[in-house]
Structures are given as structure tokens and as C-alpha cells.
């Protein structure tokens, strides 16, 4: 018996309004501890796939299993439990502009019912890991683009997810800052978190020695 994959996608299609196919017949598996790159041009369906995995949307056909549980068939009330075990780095960072970096992380911990004592410890630990401990009192607007992404990553990993979904975490960053983000994600992966990184920037990930999943116009491209 092989270990159960962390992510199993079988024949998944997502068709909007009955005619716009964002994804067609996509099947893939991620093993525990894997680091996979989801590459493809804009509009290939990378973000749609991410949204399906975290239950933001439901597949039109096919099944998605995260740690063995069928996401597409989950009730809305079951989604929170799943999402607490997922780390999501959003395309646009999604930091609350009126709260400090620390508050942004604390907010997530509070929202998932972490005790106060534990809360500070974990927030500081996550910020230290991404190298932003010294800027925890800054507002997102006072940080550089790269730092904002790191803050978003800190928030995504603070709940110790088993699967980290990063959607264009290097978008709009210069190559140096992008490299830092990739290094950071690699480091997180070494701690045991499975990472799925979506990007359209093939140059950036060319030298990365990770598994590559290519999406083209909603289909997995072979080869």
C-alpha cells in the first residue's frame, strides 16, 4: 500500500454558465511532501483549479479529494474544517490594510479559535520563519511588494497546513524578490508541507527542479 495522496483530482471539469470551459478533464495527484509547479499562461485555469481545491467553487464534473476527503461533495458547513488545514497565498496578498502584519496573522488565528497564549507564539514564529519579525508592527502599506507576499505566506502557514496553495505569489515582483519567495516556499516544503505553486512565469521556475504540471486552455498538456 502506498501512502494516500494529499491531493487527488480525477476527471475534473469546470464549466461556467454551461458553455465556458475553464477546466476540462483534469486529473492529477500530489503526494505528501511534494512541491509541484502549476504552470501555464494567464487564463489557462490555474486559479480556477486552486479555487476548486479549497472549495470556493464546485467542479461541474469529476472529484477532488484533499487528504482523502471529497471537497466537491462537502457541505458548506464542512468547508471551514478543511480550510483550516490548507494554507492559501492569494494572488493579490489579501492583507487587511488597516491592521498591522502581526494583527493580520492574529486575526486568522482568532478566527479559527486559537487561544490567546498560543496565538502570539505562533504568529511570531511564522513571522520569524519568513524573516519579518522585525516588521510585525508595520501596516501592509508600509512594506515592499516582496515583504507583503512574505507576510501573506506567514499567514498561510500559521495554522500548520498540510497543503499550501500559492497562486502567483511572485506576481509583480522583481526577479530577486521572486527568488526569495521561491526559496521561502522551498524551505516551508522541507518542513513537510506539500506545496502547489501556480505561476505563469515559466522563466522564473525554469531552473527549479520540481515536478511541473502544465495547464493549457483548461487541459493538462502532455509532455
Amino acid at each position: 500500500m502506498t501512502e494516500q495522496p494529499i491531493l487527488e483530482i480525477d476527471g475534473v471539469s469546470k464549466i461556467y454558465d454551461g458553455k465556458w470551459a475553464a477546466l476540462q478533464e483534469v486529473s492529477l495527484r500530489l503526494s505528501r511532501g511534494e512541491f509541484a509547479l502549476l504552470v501555464g499562461p494567464c487564463g489557462a485555469g490555474k486559479t480556477t483549479l486552486m479555487r476548486l481545491i479549497c472549495g470556493q467553487e464546485r467542479p461541474t464534473a469529476g472529484t477532488i479529494r484533499v487528504a482523502g476527503r471529497d471537497v466537491g461533495g462537502m457541505k458548506n458547513s464542512q468547508l471551514p474544517a478543511l480550510r483550516r488545514r490548507l494554507g492559501i497565498v492569494f494572488q493579490d496578498g489579501k492583507q487587511l490594510a488597516d491592521r498591522t502584519i502581526f494583527e493580520n496573522i492574529a486575526f486568522v488565528l482568532r478566527a479559527t479559535g486559537t487561544r490567546k497564549k498560543e496565538l502570539t507564539k505562533r504568529a511570531v514564529k511564522a513571522l520569524t520563519l519568513v524573516g519579518l519579525a522585525h516588521k510585525s508592527r508595520c501596516l501592509p502599506g508600509q512594506l515592499s511588494g516582496g515583504e507583503q507576499r512574505k507576510a501573506a505566506i506567514a499567514r498561510a502557514i500559521v495554522n500548520k497546513p498540510f497543503l499550501l496553495l500559492a497562486d502567483e505569489p511572485t506576481g509583480n515582483l522583481d526577479p530577486a524578490a521572486s527568488r526569495e519567495i521561491l526559496d521561502l516556499l522551498t524551505r516551508i516544503n522541507r518542513f513537510g508541507t506539500t506545496v502547489l505553486l501556480a505561476t505563469h512565469d515559466t522563466n522564473l521556475v525554469r531552473e527549479l527542479d520540481h515536478r511541473r504540471i502544465e495547464l493549457l486552455a483548461g487541459r493538462l498538456s502532455q509532455g
Binding site: N76, S77, P80, R83, V108, R110, A111, T112, R155, N159
Partner: protein, 282 residues
């Protein structure tokens, strides 16, 4: 709970203007309600006082002797709404008259013109216009009773006034309650819109529905609570100022005031709930 309260207060502080406008309007609503309740309380008190004194006087025909009067007393006392019957004979009536108007008035007459009468008090729950009228009619039909008197005009006006004020208070309360709910619903809709990013993040990190909606519910309830408290305080201050000039004025009883504040809080929460429901959250 502590989390939701903190978030709600934080949200109110961030949108001060909306919060102030909402609390201000609710204060006015509750103040108006307080005034109407005060008016109602006082009119009821006045009406009760008058009702306490309502009695029917049955004047006996001339020639009705003490024995027949006693028999009449028995008959009347047996009527359902009657509490007490007191017989006032001709001599007592004269004595009372003299006491009030002096000796001279009746001296020209060589006999006592005042009729004997029965003073009838009704049970407390029978002291409304309709019941008094009905009782008076039945008493008037008894043989030996010449005339029946009661504060007919007074009583009918009092009852009409009281029911009009009750109705007005009820109508205004309902209108103000609806306004409160709608106002809070609108405010919370704005708040929800302002925090939709926070809500989205919470959803995606796995906060459950209760935790996401609790701050909004509490925010609505807080608006109601503050508006209710301020409104009641304002009404109280006005009452204190006015009661200096109008002795005997009563304020709304404390339990009712407390009820008003609690009601305002519940209405606020209801407004939030309405808004959340429309946004698809409840």
C-alpha cells in the same frame, strides 16, 4: 464572544460617522417612544384614579320606605358587577347637603326635598364605560328606583381618550420598531460591505459561519443598546425638567424602561440578522 465584541467595537470606531448617525437616530426613536410611554403611563394613572371614584347613585322614588330600600339593596348587591351598596336615607342626604351648602338654602321649604338613595360601587374590573352603563340600566329597571346617575359623559370621554392614546402609542411603537430594524439593517449592510475582504479571508482560512457573522450581530445589538440607553436617559432628563412644574407626574415604570432598552437591543440584532440573511449568511 470576546473576539466578536472586539471586532464589533473596532468596526464601529472605524466608521465613526455611520455609527454616530445610527446611534443618534436610534436615540431619537427611543426617546420618542419613551415620551409616548410616559404620556400613556400618566393618562392611565389619571384614568385609574377617576375610575376608583366611579359610582352609581340610584335615587329612590318618594314613598319607598326603609324596608323596601333594604330589599332593593339586597337585589342590587346580588348583581354580578356590584361590590358594595350603601343606603343613604332622606335625613342623611339632607345632612350631607347642609354640610356642603349651608343651612339657609333649604330653610324656605317645610319638608325635605332630597330623595333617599343607594350608593353603588362596582368591582374594579367593571369600572369601564360600557360596564357601568349596563349596570346602571339594570338598576334603573328595578321597581322603586326613580333615577340612576353616574358620570356618564366623563366616563365615556375618558375611555375614548385612553384607548386613542393606547392605540397611538402602539402604532408609534410599531413604526419606530420597524424603523429601528431597517436602520440597523442598512448600517450593517454598509459594515458588511466595508469588511467584505476580511469576511472573504476569514472564509478562506476556515472561520466558521458563526464566527464570521457574530461581530455583525453584536454590532447591531450594540447600536440598539446604545440608542436605547441614550434615548431613555434623554427622556428621563426631559421628564425631570418637566416634573418640576407638573407635580405628580409619573415616569415610565423601571421594568418597562429596562424592557425598552432590551427590546432596542433585540431589534438591533434583528436588523443585523436581516442584513446577513440578505447577504446569504444566515
Amino acid at each position: 464572544m470576546a473576539y466578536a465584541l472586539t471586532e464589533a467595537l473596532l468596526a464601529m470606531r472605524r466608521s465613526k460617522l455611520t455609527a454616530l448617525a445610527t446611534i443618534g437616530s436610534l436615540t431619537v426613536f427611543m426617546f420618542l417612544l419613551g415620551l409616548f410611554l410616559t404620556l400613556h403611563t400618566n393618562l392611565s394613572a389619571v384614568a385609574d384614579g377617576i375610575r376608583q371614584r366611579v359610582q352609581i347613585e340610584a335615587f329612590l322614588a318618594d314613598g319607598v320606605g326603609p324596608e323596601e330600600a333594604e330589599e332593593l339593596t339586597g337585589q342590587i348587591a346580588a348583581l354580578d358587577p356590584v361590590e358594595t351598596v350603601t343606603y343613604v336615607d332622606k335625613d342623611s342626604a339632607l345632612a350631607v347637603f347642609r354640610e356642603h351648602f349651608g343651612d339657609e338654602t333649604l330653610q324656605a321649604l317645610d319638608h325635605n326635598p332630597l330623595p333617599a338613595s343607594l350608593k353603588i360601587e362596582l368591582r374594579e374590573n367593571h369600572r369601564t364605560f360600557d360596564r357601568v352603563e349596563e349596570a346602571a340600566r339594570r338598576i334603573g329597571e328595578l321597581a322603586g328606583v326613580a333615577e340612576v346617575e353616574y358620570g356618564r359623559r366623563w366616563l365615556s370621554r375618558l375611555d375614548a381618550l385612553l384607548s386613542a392614546v393606547s392605540l397611538a402609542t402602539l402604532a408609534i411603537s410599531l413604526i419606530l420598531a420597524v424603523c429601528t430594524v431597517l436602520l440597523v439593517a442598512t448600517t450593517i449592510r454598509l459594515a458588511f460591505h466595508a469588511r467584505r475582504q476580511a469576511v472573504e479571508i476569514m472564509q478562506l482560512v476556515g472561520a466558521n459561519r458563526r464566527l464570521i457573522t457574530a461581530p455583525f450581530l453584536i454590532e447591531g445589538a450594540l447600536y440598539g443598546l446604545m440608542g436605547g440607553l441614550l434615548g431613555v436617559i434623554l427622556a428621563g432628563l426631559l421628564f425631570l425638567a418637566v416634573s418640576r412644574y407638573l407635580a405628580g407626574l409619573r415616569f415610565v415604570p423601571a421594568p418597562l424602561l429596562l424592557g425598552l432598552v432590551v427590546l432596542a437591543m433585540l431589534l438591533g440584532a434583528l436588523g443585523s440578522l436581516l442584513s446577513l440573511r440578505r447577504a446569504g449568511w444566515r
